[in-house]
């Protein structure tokens, strides 16, 4: 039943992709260089040469460990959100923006428990982008799904559309903001794979580093387009899948052990 819609969607996307390709070729025909090895701030716009993604090995994700969540909070200034005066504590915990959620799954038959961090899955065909009425929700050329908060009107359609409940809404003015993580009342935001790091030539995310520091190494970040890169190597070595793969979103994040 969803087939015709699906087809239309793909055609539209491939047209837009082709248009972007023509644009890129005419602007900078000689500038398709490899930039992965450079550890310098980028000077050329991101391209589809890379598609950033992650593999999360849930068998290594420890119960009760919050290292990735805490690291994300620090990296992206989420720990600078202040609870509004007189706000109910439980309500605040539900409302404060959080980019990673630790999720615990239990198989009711076997009793087997699985822990995993759940964040924006950086879909190739992101539903949040499809529904955004202003074009604020967009997919960057390198596969990172982001919100242009200059045009976000805070309608929260994207939060409804996201199958992973990955997005947060900023309900209150945030007094203290980091340069690398602007944050404003009335906008939606979510994990951006530490885009500021990538743009500065640092190819890792805060959550990956924190997980490795804890000795779990459950998160592997890398380039899905690079067949010899660490992510593709890891993906080739162990069975893994996309969450909600029946939605055919082709997520950038893959999970093993679920």
């Amino acid at each position: 039943m969803t087939q015709p819609e699906d087809k239309v969607d793909r055609e539209r996307r491939s047209f837009l992709g082709a248009a972007a390709g023509v644009g890129a070729a005419s602007i900078a025909p000689g500038l398709m260089l490899h930039t992965l090895a450079e550890a310098a701030p980028r000077t050329t716009p991101v391209s589809d040469e890379h598609r950033w993604g992650m593999l999360i090995d849930t068998s290594k994700c420890a119960d009760g460990c919050q290292a990735c969540v805490d690291a994300c909070d620090r990296e992206n200034g989420l720990n600078l959100q202040a609870e509004p005066l007189g706000e109910d504590e439980l309500k605040w915990q539900n409302q404060r923006a959080t980019w990673i959620r630790k999720v615990k799954l239990q198989d009711n038959v076997s009793g087997r428990v699985t822990n995993l961090p759940l964040m924006c899955q950086h879909c190739e065909h992101p539903p949040c982008v499809d529904v955004c009425p202003t074009g604020a929700s967009f997919k960057r050329a390198d596969g990172i799904v982001m919100v242009d908060r200059h045009s976000c009107i805070g309608c929260r359609y994207c939060m409804m559309a996201c199958p992973y409940k990955a997005r947060s809404f900023i309900h209150e003015q945030v007094e203290h903001k980091l340069t690398r993580a602007p944050r404003g009342k009335g906008c939606v935001e979510s994990c951006n794979l530490c885009a500021h790091r990538l743009d500065d030539g640092r190819f890792s995310t805060a959550c990956e580093e924190a997980c490795a520091e804890e000795g779990h190494q459950a998160i592997i970040f890398g380039d899905l387009n690079d067949p010899n890169g660490r992510l593709r190597q890891a993906l080739a070595q162990q069975p893994n899948r996309q969450l909600r793969e029946e939605l055919a979103l082709n997520t950038g994040l893959r999970y093993s052990g679920v």
Partner: protein, 165 residues
């Protein structure tokens, strides 16, 4: 006749006085660079001053799209660059937010009666200073509500090891 000349002289003196007053006022306008900021040491902004006075918003907006969609954060027209250079410091060498009263951004926008809302979302002090703690995350946990201390990281950042955004 003499009376008429006398009146004419008074008018001329009055006009000259008014002109002088206007010139004095004009000199005052635009002189909003805070003395304790790095900008006060520079000869001019990233572009000629007259150009920046009229066009800084266009320049910043162009850079904004380049940054959001293209991931280019390091070029000279970034808002972070404005803040880095134009932030003033108090007697304790702590940065004063650029949108605070009498600071660079706020003072001129107040004079021109233009609402400034960049800083509803963007940082008002340079990266690595005061709450804008680029390096504190690496140097230990941050106080929940307080402003962290930066005595040992400030000099390194001032020398330009800050984040390029």
């Amino acid at each position: 006749m003499a009376k008429a000349m006398h009146h004419g002289g008074l008018v001329v003196i009055g006009l000259v006085g008014a002109l002088l007053a206007l010139t004095a006022a004009a000199e005052g306008v635009g002189d909003f660079v805070v003395q304790s900021s790095k900008a006060a040491q520079s000869e001019h902004c990233v572009e000629p001053t007259e150009f920046m006075r009229r066009n800084h918003m266009e320049v910043i907006r162009h850079q904004r799209d380049t940054t959001v969609y293209g991931g280019i954060r390091s070029t000279k027209h970034s808002l972070a660059g404005c803040v880095q250079c134009h932030v003033g410091y108090d007697a304790n060498h702590q940065p004063v937010p650029v949108n605070a009263d009498n600071q660079f951004c706020a003072k001129c926008h107040h004079y021109a009666a233009v609402q400034l809302n960049c800083f509803d979302c963007h940082a008002t002090v340079p990266p690595g200073e005061a709450w804008n703690h680029e390096t504190t995350a690496l140097h230990g946990p941050m106080d929940a509500g307080g402003v962290p201390q930066f005595a040992n990281v400030l000099p390194a950042i001032r020398q330009g090891e800050g984040e390029n955004q």
